[in-house]
Symmetry: C2
Subunit: 270 residues, 2 copies
Amino acid sequence: MSEPTPGSTGTLYLVPNTLDLGTPDSGADLQALLPLGVIRIAAGLQHWVAENAKSTRAFLKRVDAVVPLVLPLQSLCIVELPRAQKGAPLKGAAPNLPSAMAPQASLQPLLAPAQHGHDVGLISEAGLPAVADPGAALVQAAHGLGIRVMALPGASSLLLALAASGLNGQSFAFIGYLPVDAAERATRIRDLEALSRRQRQTQLMIETPYRNEALLGALVAHLQATTQLSVSCGLTLAGGFTRSDTVAAWRARATTMPGDVPAVFSLLAG
Amino acid sequence: MSEPTPGSTGTLYLVPNTLDLGTPDSGADLQALLPLGVIRIAAGLQHWVAENAKSTRAFLKRVDAVVPLVLPLQSLCIVELPRAQKGAPLKGAAPNLPSAMAPQASLQPLLAPAQHGHDVGLISEAGLPAVADPGAALVQAAHGLGIRVMALPGASSLLLALAASGLNGQSFAFIGYLPVDAAERATRIRDLEALSRRQRQTQLMIETPYRNEALLGALVAHLQATTQLSVSCGLTLAGGFTRSDTVAAWRARATTMPGDVPAVFSLLAG
């Protein structure tokens, strides 16, 4: 490799969390879901930046059950990302603003341990940090400071849903949330379908779980009959499923969506 | 969950391969890279559909070193995906055709074991099958036959690169390969930059490793100075790196790209 790692600075590790937050599965053996190599790295980190400190402590207890933590849990330094970084741009119906636009300077103190040679873990409540989740601004700040960034492998609900959909995996886009307003949402759905047809590109989106049913209803109502629609629900959980079918088939056979489990919706114009 | 699993049919498991194909790392302990739960499922599968049988046998030897295979390696049934399914649509410069457009009927025999109650593994040479890789048509065929599809967590170079880039992870698109012809490629780069600006969407692309250097050169030459450009190279490998910077900074400090290691390129218009 030609890129030298900086001399004495630590590495910012992007640590994938499991996808079972708040479910009965969340007590399961972490080894079933995360590579031992990732668990080992997590067990050795003293400094954490977290979307949520409480869920991070729960994660670290599961780590400790596999590989003992380098320090007792209460001695670890866990700092939460500033609120403005925590998904605010994600939840809105307006065009998504990249977290990268948030001021990075305020994040630099979170990276001070890395500047002093300690490795730092970045973790969100579920899945890979900085993807459909807060953290990108911290990663940008790390690059700006010459801190090595390393993303560790784990579950990403978006990619698992895409793979399981059978839709086009050679060209795809994740567009976040649709507008909540019914008329705006219908327009956006038709725009995405037109874009999908033009680019032959799978379009992926997510929704707050209690609106899963409403989003599915809107997709089935507004998409054309020949469009492929796939829904993945409760990925990596017992009882999780992926249904992938034409909109015509979805119309002919309803599927009830759970209102308390995250889902990923994918469409490809037929 | 509301979606019943079909009665007596097996499950099609999408098994993530490691990202170290053909590198010195490829002898490393599989537990460092894959969840034990995934290794256990892989060890129990007698029926495989593979992008490449040889690399699948190498993968299964690594599985066997952690969890003994249910049958001796030579007794497992490993069938390769038909050639037409194997990435041909991916390599072209033309608009990517979804594998889903390939005739699915010819793939149904590969799923006969699942119809008879056996679980089947689908695996590619690196990363998650059916994402930037062949397999989507088989997944579609499985859905058509009412076979349960389950994607297992592992490394996806695209998502790891996106997370490590610090670019917008709330809206992003993977567009595959750029045209090889220099003029067409320059046009496509400028189109992607305009799209990225309009949608505030990170654009991700890949290249055949020996063309990494040429693609980087073209991106640095044709993108605007304020555009963010990130390159991840050798993800999950010893010595892998992610560099994320403005195009102006890339121009000021060159990075030599290895010609034998996969890379992911991401851009976000500034």
